[in-house]
Structure formats: C-alpha cells, structure tokens
C-alpha cells in the first residue's frame, strides 16, 4: 500500500520537474536531477521496507567521540 503511494508520489515529482528541463534543453540539470532522484528513491524504499540504510551518524560518532571524550576529560 505505502509502496504504491510512494510510487505515485515519485511519478508525480518526475512528471512535474522533467518537462521544463526537457523543453529548455538543460541536460546537466536533468542528469543531476536523475541521479539525485534515483538515490532518493532507493533510500526511501530501503527505509520503508526496513532495510539497513548507510547511517552517517555512526561514522561521525566513531570519528568524533574520541575528541568529545578528550574535551570531557579536560573540562571535568
């Protein structure tokens, strides 16, 4: 059900955006839109279906938590 709604929403967005770009021959815009839209669609479906998403927060935590701990040690 939700997947059907999503597909309709995506088709709506694509139908809304692409005609203008095609008319104005903005190929760069079209390519960027296509790639980003594809990425967004993959992410949305992964989220809805409960598949694991690449989560930047865990990476950021890994890089920055030593610094955070260091600050904590200095200031306590």
């Amino acid at each position: 059900m939700i997947i059907l709604v999503l597909i309709i929403v995506f088709i709506g967005i694509i139908a809304l955006e692409t005609p203008v770009m095609l008319k104005n021959r903005q190929w760069r815009e079209l390519a960027a839109f296509g790639v980003l839209m594809l990425g967004a669609m993959v992410l949305t479906f992964a989220q809805v279906l409960g598949l694991p998403l690449p989560n930047p927060t865990s990476g950021i935590e890994m890089i920055f938590s030593p610094v955070a701990d260091m600050i904590k040690n200095i200031l306590s």
Partner: protein
Amino acid sequence: MKKDEKVSSTQMIFLLVTTITVTGFLFVPSITAQYASRDGWISVGLAATLFGILVALVYTRLGLYFPEKSVVEYAPEIIGKFGGRLIGLLYIFFFIHINAIIVREFGDFLVTAFLPETPLPVFNTVVVLLAAFVVSNGMEVLCRMNQFLFPLFVAAFVFIVFLLTEDVNFGNFLPLMENGIKPVIRGSLVPGAWRGEIVLILMFLPFMNQPREAGKTLVGAVLLIGFFLTLTTATSIAVFGPLLTQNMVFPILELARYVSLGRFLERLEAVVIIVWVAGVTVKVAAFYLAAVLGTAQWLNIKDYRPLVYPVGLIILVYSMALFENSRELVDFLATVFVPYAYLFELGIPMGLLAVALVRYRGGRKQ
C-alpha cells in the same frame, strides 16, 4: 541560481536569529544546565557569545575575499581544485545532515509534547514539504516570510518571560561559579555550537545587497541570539532552579505551562507551538536552501530548482533513519555534535582563511 536575488542586512539578521534561536530556546537550557548547573546563563550569555563573535569575524574576513561567491564556489580557488571540491562536498553533506537532525527535532518535540498518537513521519513530511515550497521560491521569499514571523516570535517570547517575572527567584543563581570556571566552559560548548550555525552565511553572503555590512550583521545577529537564549536559560533557572531545569526535556515549554495569571490566562504552551512550528519551517527552509544551492553550485548547475525535491526526499528519509529515539538524539547533540559542528563552523573556515591570508597578502587579483 538567480544571482539577482538580494536581501537587506536587517533581513539577514532576522533570518539568522530566527534560524538559531528557534531550536536553541527549546534544547539549549536543559543541556547547558546539565553541565553548568546554575551558572548556565553565564555559559550561554558570555562564553558562547564570545565564540559566536569569533566565528562571525572569521566568516566576514573570509567572505569578503569573495563577496560574490559562496564557500562551495570559492574553496577550490583558495586551496586548489581537489581539496576545494572536497570541502564543498563536506559542507553539502553537513547541511543535509544538520537539516535531517532539525526535522527530527521538530517531529520529536511535537510527538513528545503534544500529539503522542500521531506517527512521526507525518510531522516530518509536512515540514519538509512546506520548506520545499519556500525553497523553490528562493531566498527573497524566505526572508520576507521571516520578516513577517520575526516580530510575532519576539512578541510571544517576551510575553511569556514577562508574565513569569513574579515567579523569578534570583536566589537560584547563587552561589556564582561554585565549582570554578570549568563547568561554565563545558556548558558553553553546546550553545556555542548552536551559535555557530551562522555558518549559513558562508552560503548566503552573495545574497546580501551590502556585503560590506556582513561583519556588523553577523555580530548583531550573534548578540541578539545571545540575548534571547540567555533570557530563556536564565528564566528557567530562576523559576525552576538548576536541578529541575536539567531534568526537564523542554524547560521553555514547562515555563509556558507555568504561567497562570489570575486563573484566567493559562495554557500558554499553545503560543510556544505557534512560534516553534513557524520558526522551524524557516529554519528547515534556510538549511535546505543552503544544501540545494551548494549542490547546484558544486555540480555547476545554473538553476537549482530541479534539485529541490530529490534533496528534500533525502532529508526526509534521514530525518527518520538517523536516530532510533529522541533520547539518542539529545545524547548526540550533547556530546558528539560539539566537535562535529565546531569542525565545520570554525575549523574549516579558519583553515581556509589562513590559506587565503597567506595567498592574497598583496591584495587579490580581480
């Protein structure tokens, strides 16, 4: 991108103040009180403001080398093609990530405080959709919308604080700096990271009709933000005391609930909601615009509007996927967020400025 869109310095101050205060006044008082206890107002008022002014000066100095360009465009000119484009990409990532966090804060707040039965995606979708509409209309529309909202925001805020004056107990501030300066500094780190969200100016400077006034604008914005956030923190500590403040999730909401004037004027938290929803829409739109603009400039695209919906979808998905629950979110904000934000708000701009200072010592060739 439409280069002819221009906004005035006042509009820029209003935009920055709304953008930062609106989430700050909900989350900052309790996080600060956790570290600095009753000295939280010093952390927010003095230490974080000093940091904010430092950041503002760095951005001004750096921005004025290239008043017509945003950081995504001028970073390659300063430190070379590869490094500059990497920095541009990092900033785009930063704006999208922060925006996902903001959208999550918005949804979490409404779910916890007001509408526990409504699923989180509903709020997130609504706010991203609204912001997408604003962004596709451009910077001028965003600033004008905010120009209308800002006085209401200030009025609602002053109103609540004013009604609480009879409950204020200044004894709660004593003793001053009981445990020395360290807790105060530690408490100022999170509000400092919030103050540093004026990093938006790195993307928005080309929109200013008077780029030379950027310094005054930024410092003015930092001082105003400092005033509002200090007022919130000081009021919640003065009314509730430090212990209660640090255990509340949203002290300002409790403050609004606490107002009771002659058993007649009550339940003012509705006012908080109005301010919050309107302000967060502006905030999400501002970061959204920065992300979309950055993406368009990074890819050398003239018109950013086709990218609005795809980027919005990515923000929406991550607003739900980044954190399991709101506890995790507050944890992230209180610990890892600090060095992460400082890297983008101070570290990278300072590095760029250092290189620019050396390279353009004898004046830049136009």
